[in-house]
């Protein structure tokens, strides 16, 4: 049955009540737990997000917990557990790449932005590798990341690129923060956040500054038969591949080339090129390590409360300018760089 939450107590308050330990309030706590169960999943997710502690400026200690499963070539989840947190290297490339990639993503959010895991509360990170047969995809199912091995003709295994792993895990972060709807412009922003934090994880691991980084998503997962370097480029959207079978990378870099389509949930993987390129412009204008100033601004914007789940590009752009203003001060070069970056892609904040 599908219930709609229409109680007067807001979900975040229910969540707090439900967690109370005080025996004098046990009845209220029990009632709140009951009410929470009737919330729609999306409300519950947002309630979790609101409850999540936001800590900035200092690293969160020791709550990284991962668990890798192996689906053994079947399309069944979760598969067999092969590596728990702290477990030995398995020798299976996909399982070990997933384990390491989750760790790298966790470290970016924890050490740079002070967030403990995707939900801000230390949630365990689950992934399944070897999903399906010749399976050409990686996805987030609301609970875990899932990686295919590719068909061997166009795609190799999807864990081979750290940016694929960090992209998928960032879908979890978005789910627990803004929960951007996966359709049209909000869906393209959802995709873009996964690409932006996806490349930042890799840049930080490799110690690449904004000028030196390749700004590619999925480099190394095409086989050598494909004419292409990666699936997407934040630096030059539309140039990642140009192949006789796959066609050309369809991503636009600016609003002038915005693609209207009913495919792909309204082009969520296509028009994400526009906010992707805005981030690239802001990060390269500021220079240095992109996960520092530019990454912090985007992260602050996501957690600012200024991003509705049906957010469009201009609303998101305004939130980033406001976040830059808050963190670096009005009239700062950071505010100027962010506003100019959006202007360059044709989005008026």
């Amino acid at each position: 049955m599908h219930r709609t939450h229409c109680g007067i107590v807001p979900p975040h308050l229910l969540t707090r009540l439900a967690a109370l330990q005080d025996p004098r309030l046990s009845a209220a706590s029990r009632a709140a737990r009951h009410a929470l169960l009737e919330l729609q999943p999306v409300h519950r997710i947002r309630a979790d997000a609101l409850r999540a502690p936001v800590r900035r400026g200092s690293a969160v200690v020791g709550t990284l917990a991962r668990r890798i499963h192996d689906a053994g070539g079947r399309e069944e989840l979760p598969g067999t557990a092969v590596r728990p947190e702290g477990g030995p290297v398995t020798g299976d490339a996909a399982a070990d790449e997933a384990y390491d990639g989750l760790g790298a993503t966790y470290r970016l959010f924890s050490e740079e932005y002070g967030r403990s895991s995707i939900d801000g509360a230390g949630k365990r990170l689950d992934a399944t590798v070897h999903y399906g047969s010749d399976y050409d995809n990686a996805f987030w199912d609301g609970e875990r990341m899932v990686f295919g091995d590719g068909d061997g003709e166009i795609f190799g295994r999807f864990t081979a690129s750290l940016t694929v792993i960090s992209h998928e895990l960032t879908h979890g972060f978005t789910q627990y923060s803004t929960n951007l709807e996966y359709q049209g412009q909000s869906g393209a922003l959802n995709e873009s956040l996964s690409d932006v934090f996806g490349v930042l994880v890799e840049q930080r691991e490799l110690g690449q500054d904004a000028a030196a980084a390749p700004w590619l998503i999925g480099a190394g997962i095409f086989t050598e038969d494909v004419q292409g370097v990666a699936l997407r480029s934040l630096k030059a959207p539309g140039t990642a591949y140009d192949d006789d079978v796959l066609g050309r990378d369809p991503q636009p870099a600016t609003m002038a080339d915005y693609v209207r389509t009913t495919s792909d949930n309204g082009g969520v993987h296509i028009n994400s090129g526009i906010p992707n390129h805005a981030f690239y412009r802001a990060a390269t204008a500021l220079g240095g390590e992109a996960w520092k100033a530019a990454g912090s601004i985007w992260y602050d914007a996501v957690l600012s409360g200024d991003i509705p789940s049906d957010c469009d590009f201009p609303t998101f752009a305004r939130a980033t300018v406001r976040a830059a203003d808050k963190r670096f001060g009005s009239g700062s070069r950071e505010v100027g760089a962010v506003a100019e970056a959006w202007a360059q892609v044709g989005v008026v904040p």
């Binding site: 999943p41 359709q183 369809p250 792909d264 993987h269």
Partner: protein
Amino acid sequence: MRIEITRSGGFGGLTRTWSLEVSASEAEQRWLPLAAEAEPGPAPEPAPEPGPAPGEEPTASGGSGAHRDRFTYRITIGYTEVLVPEERLEEPWRELIDRARAAPVPGPPAPSPGDSGPGTDSKQQASDGPGAGGQESPRKLL
């Protein structure tokens, strides 16, 4: 009768199209009834406007639940179209898709109507993502 299957979305956002010929009786007895049971084809969605679109209502046709980066299959049987998210793809459709992927690639497919302009609300929005359609070659079959 020709059945065309277009797969969009996925991590890469690559759109692929496969097709196969089935007899009229197979289409009428097996696939059209299945399509009639499935949810209706692509609802005419308000095309996202470039630029601010205040008050634009989110459509219900978005990705189902919390799944991200999954494929969406658009199956066209004659004038009937169904849209099936990968996570809700049941066995008969899987068989059809496997057959289409294994089918020999025919000559250049008939040009599909591209995205219609704003205001079009017919079911003919068989829009392929850019980069799709008309460029299949026998080199590889995904």
